[in-house]
């Protein structure tokens, strides 16, 4: 009896959720309507890269439905959702362009399958943001074998592609580390909270920092720990480090979430007075506000708003337009180098608030 009730309940719940979503024509995952995204489009930082007019897309002189697949690493982080948001905002401007979104679940195998599923559905082009560089080579080859445009975002694949669009985590980390070294006056004890150990942005940001610190022997790295990009592990790490180390001058963290967590631990340990500064990455509006309030010393501006460029690049390829700035580089295929966004620091925070990603507020700084 009970079982029957449960069995009925679950599908009906799903049905209600789905029909609600469809009724308001809300887009999947971001749950936004095209009207909302139109206002958002105006604020995107890179709309002048490969610019495209509003209106239907003509392929070989004809207006026909165009379907483009987007295979995302996963939607477990708002950064990834913001990338999709930019892509959806571009798609909304072209009535005959439809997007198929697949969630890779941060799993190489799943994402490989996803891309093949997209091909099976007969998409006209693929935008992919890979979980891992080498692991997605088979998927990339499969797309290229069908002679479809393949745009790779954020993380590169070491095989042939139409275009790779990305920012360098190494140079960004160099910017942030330089700023930190300047603020510290070349001496001090720092602790490092990395992103998920072994992930490529964590490796690159660590390398960028190491390159800079080699020039500043006065700055000592006391200890490194894995913050997994999120808040909870960072709190525990910071608590223990504060216990073990009487003098910490700064925290270099790979993610804003981890920095906020470290700040919670500092407040709890009653060590706000020491003025421990945070140097961090992600580029969210909330992060910029924390910079403005003085909690963060610098925020590496790693923007997710490259999704729209990816879609425009597919459309450029389909319509046969030349891509300005396209260049060969040390990996197969070609690359589009984006202008380096400056790190957000107290001096420029006001300019950048509103141009970062995410519309949430930073955690209240428990030290204030």
């Amino acid at each position: 009896m009970m079982l029957k009730h449960v069995a009925l309940l679950i599908p009906s719940l799903l049905a209600v959720t789905l029909s609600a979503a469809l009724a308001q024509e809300r887009l999947p995952i971001t749950n936004k309507t095209c009207d909302e995204l139109a206002a958002f489009y105006a604020k995107l930082p890179f709309t002048d890269v490969l610019p495209l007019e509003v209106g239907p897309v003509e392929v070989q002189g004809k207006v026909r439905p165009v379907t483009i697949g987007f295979s995302q690493t996963g939607f477990n982080h708002p950064w990834r959702i913001a990338m999709l948001e930019a892509l959806q905002a571009e798609a909304c401007r072209h009535p005959n362009v439809k997007i198929v979104v697949l969630d890779g679940n941060v799993d190489v195998a799943k994402q490989n399958n996803d891309v093949r599923d997209l091909l099976a559905r007969g998409v006209d082009g693929v935008v992919m943001s890979p979980v891992e560089s080498a692991g997605l080579v088979p998927a990339a080859r499969a797309v290229m074998a069908q002679k479809l445009p393949l745009i790779v975002l954020d993380r590169d694949v070491p095989s042939d592609k139409t275009l790779f669009i990305g920012q360098s985590n190494v140079t960004m980390a160099e910017q942030v580390a330089e700023r930190m070294a300047k603020d510290l006056g070349g001496t001090g004890n720092i602790v490092v909270i990395t992103g998920l150990k072994g992930s490529s942005p964590a490796v690159d940001r660590d390398r960028g920092m190491a390159d800079v610190l080699a020039k500043y022997p006065g700055i000592k790295v006391l200890v490194k720990g894995d913050g997994e990009w999120i808040r909870e592990p960072a709190v525990r790490l910071m608590e223990d480090w504060l216990t073990a180390n009487p003098k910490i001058t700064a925290v270099f963290s790979h993610a804003e979430e981890s920095s906020w967590g470290a700040q919670l631990a500092i407040a709890r340990a009653g060590r706000c007075k020491e003025g421990i500064r945070h140097y961090t990455f992600d580029g969210s509006n909330a992060g910029f506000k924390s910079v403005k309030r003085g909690t963060f010393g610098a925020d590496g501006n790693y923007t997710p708003y490259i999704g729209d460029i990816g879609l425009r690049a597919v459309i450029y390829t389909l319509t046969g337009k030349a891509i300005p700035g396209r260049a060969n580089y040390d990996s197969p295929g070609s690359r589009l180098l984006l202008p380096d966004s400056p790190s957000v620091v107290p001096e420029n925070a006001d300019v950048w608030i509103g141009r970062g990603w995410g519309d949430f507020e930073p955690t209240l700084d428990p030290c204030r």
Partner: protein, 322 residues
Amino acid sequence: MSRSLPALRRGRLADAASRLHKQAGVVLALVLLVLAATYASDRFLTVPNLLNVLRQVAIVGILAVGQTFAILTAGIDLSVGAVLGLSVVLFARLLEHHGLVVAIPLGLLSGAVAGLVNGIGIAYGGIPPFIMTLGMLSFARGLAFIYTGGTPIPILNEDFYDIGNGYVLGMPIPALMLIAALFACGVVLRLTPFGRCVYAIGSNEAAARLSGVAVRRYKVLVYVICGLLAALAGLVYASQLSVGTPIAGQGYELDAIAAVVVGGTSLFGGAGSVFGTFVGTLIIGVLANMLNLTGVDPFVQQLFKGALIVIAVFVMSRPSRG
């Protein structure tokens, strides 16, 4: 095979002694670890650090207490981490518009409801606990993502922040919540007919049923408790971190299971205690604390944790071999 009636008279004492004997191994492991930590870092054995450890283990500790119930019945609850995540985003969202009085009971209720669905599926639907709670893991996590659109919800309520970060009588509130949960569940397991039935079901479900134990009803209750405690852990999480993120608690179910197993509770059911679980939680917590204090490489930390789980269980299984 002695006909020793005097031995019967010592019954309660002998009971207590045999309980102590069973837990001696795990307590010994904790003592050794504490000695090692004291030796490794002169900062370990300080009051603020020990309070930190207690606060750090509160979340997984509370999950593990609930998990103990499920494992004692020879079941398992893989959904505790996801249910924690669901309750965390509910707390955050409810606190945007309501006070603590509304948010806390409703958030806790969400855990109990998830547990109820688990329990009904397992006890009345005959679905193996592993499968049912695996399904719930995915379902609850999905709900949390849908509910937030994948974006963390900041919690700006100061009173709520104090729950996770404040002190009462010099003790961090999360640690007190863990101790309260341990005490309440310990009493329930040791001193109530329900607790007896939990052990009986885990020891031999068919026998318990034939003895007139309302097996299904109690199983449902076990999973409701497990879900409720997951939501309580969610309360600690959300209030400590001031953020309602849908990925909260990913993989915590495994940490909770590890704490239960290290604490000497049998995965085959019918043997173990929440006291053991508490010690198991502390062992894992103290180890992590010690490695952080001494600044061990995060890659190497994983080796220690894995080795500890296996060694602790191995050491504990020794005395029972006659």
